[in-house]
């Protein structure tokens, strides 16, 4: 079936099998490999992207469901060489260790602040419950999100 999506502002159109998962479409068909696959069971959040401005786990959505929708992946977050404030906060707060969860963590965090621009530390921890960091580096991730919220206020 024909699927047309906008990813990071660019239109993409491909013929795919109906069972193609969105994350496989993004990585294998379009070639944007910044979105990672961790657990593949909608638990870990490594594959988090934005669909129409909201965080979604792209391993639990069909490419067919995304037809006609506006997607944002980690590659589309920065403005050229200028990092998005959340990426900059992750860098400054050293909010990553191995980095595998980072793209999904950043995309979830951006969506979190879109919905709640000044969260408490507890709200950040609960708001990121859909993202796992197997390095258990949560402390600095939470710091980075709070830092970003403060920088943007």
């Amino acid at each position: 079936m024909e699927v047309t999506v906008t990813i990071n502002g660019d239109s993409h159109s491909h013929d795919v099998e109906p069972r193609t998962l969105l994350v496989h479409y993004i990585r294998d068909v379009v070639g944007l490999t910044g979105t990672n696959i961790g657990c593949d069971t909608s638990s870990c959040g490594a594959c988090t992207i934005h669909v129409n401005g909201e965080s979604v786990k792209s391993c639990t959505m069909l490419a067919a469901q995304a037809d006609g929708q506006d997607l944002l992946t980690i590659e589309g977050l920065a403005d050229g060489d200028v990092l998005h404030p959340m990426q900059e906060s992750f860098r400054q707060c050293h909010a990553l260790q191995c980095g595998y969860c980072t793209p999904g963590m950043v995309m979830a965090a951006v969506s979190l602040l879109d919905e709640n621009p000044s969260p408490t530390e507890r709200e950040v921890r609960i708001g990121l419950e859909g993202n796992l960091c197997r390095c258990t580096g949560y402390h600095n991730i939470v710091k980075a999100v709070l830092h970003c919220a403060e920088a943007q206020s």
Binding site: M1, E17, P18, R19, L21, H24, D40, T41, S42, S43, G45, T48, V51, E54, S55, V56, K57, T60, M61, L62, A64, Q65, A108, S111, L112, E115, I126, G127, E129, G130, N131
Partner: protein, 274 residues
């Protein structure tokens, strides 16, 4: 993990969805947000030959004040339920429990109707609908019918929905003055409840629904009867596991679940001010 191959049909209206169901019968499954069905399909525990995508039927996404109840469209996303002022003020238990479904990403896609129609005894929302005595509105080839939530769950992942029927609306009685408590016990963030309890206490009656205490979502009838007889929270909660048949899995055996049901019911009732 990749689902088995299927044909994909995108319904442009409820009528189109019903026509597709009529054509494909039990070969077809409805796809709403997909956050219950797609994980099962990826594990190949579900292998529908035809997937009828109803995710774009935006006219089934609404929360309306319908007099004595809230009318919630089956395709209303969890995110929209949990943030609705109307739900918060008229059915606080539903808003609170919905905020515990999955995680934010799941709630951006998952729908109340999809969750309920999935009929999973480990889901949070059926316990709320049982406690609040909701009614489910279903459309089929013969027209519309209403199903009381007590008659809706018929077996493990099975409901009273026919193969040719579509859940369209959930009617939740407005209970602005009721007090309530929601308890969900799990070991890790975002896990399914090992046991959960929804309790709502109105001036005339109380309702208590249980999560993961049987092969279907069940009501704690012993607790409700004790409360009607004037029992305290602690005394009523002692009956929480009566008549249930809790499952055994790697998280807990039946005895531990029965213990959790009693403790969580007491906490839920105390939160509701009993």
């Amino acid at each position: 993990m990749i689902p088995a191959a299927f044909d994909y049909v995108r319904a442009g209206s409820a009528e189109e969805a019903l026509a597709a169901l009529a054509e494909h019968g039990d070969e077809a499954k409805l796809l709403a947000g997909g956050h219950s069905l797609l994980p099962l399909m990826k594990l190949r525990l579900a292998t529908p030959a035809v997937l009828v995508d109803i995710g774009r039927l935006s006219d089934l996404s609404y929360i309306n004040d319908a007099g004595d109840h809230l009318a919630i469209g089956a395709l209303t996303r969890h995110r929209d339920v949990e943030t609705s002022e109307l739900v918060r003020s008229q059915a606080g238990l539903l808003a609170e429990a919905t905020s515990h479904v999955g995680d934010p990403q799941v709630r951006h896609r998952g729908t109340i109707g999809g969750s309920v129609a999935h009929g999973d005894p480990a889901s949070d929302l059926p316990s709320v609908l049982l406690a609040m005595r909701a009614t489910l509105v279903v459309q089929g080839p013969g027209g519309q019918r209403e199903i009381a939530v007590d008659d809706f769950f018929t077996g493990f992942l099975e409901t009273a929905l026919g193969d040719d029927e579509l859940l369209t609306e959930i009617r939740v009685p407005k209970m602005p003055d009721a007090t309530w408590g929601f308890q969900k016990f799990n070991r890790r963030a975002q896990d399914w409840a090992i046991v959960g309890v929804s309790a709502v206490v109105g001036h005339a009656s109380a309702g208590v629904g249980l999560v993961n205490m049987d092969s279907i979502p069940v009501r704690a009838t012993g607790v409700e009867a004790a409360l009607a007889g004037g029992a305290s929270a602690a005394d009523a909660a002692a009956a929480a596991a009566e008549g249930t048949n809790p499952p055994s899995d790697l998280n807990a055996g039946p005895e531990y679940r029965e213990h959790l049901a009693r403790v969580l019911t007491r906490r839920a009732l105390e939160a509701a001010g009993r």
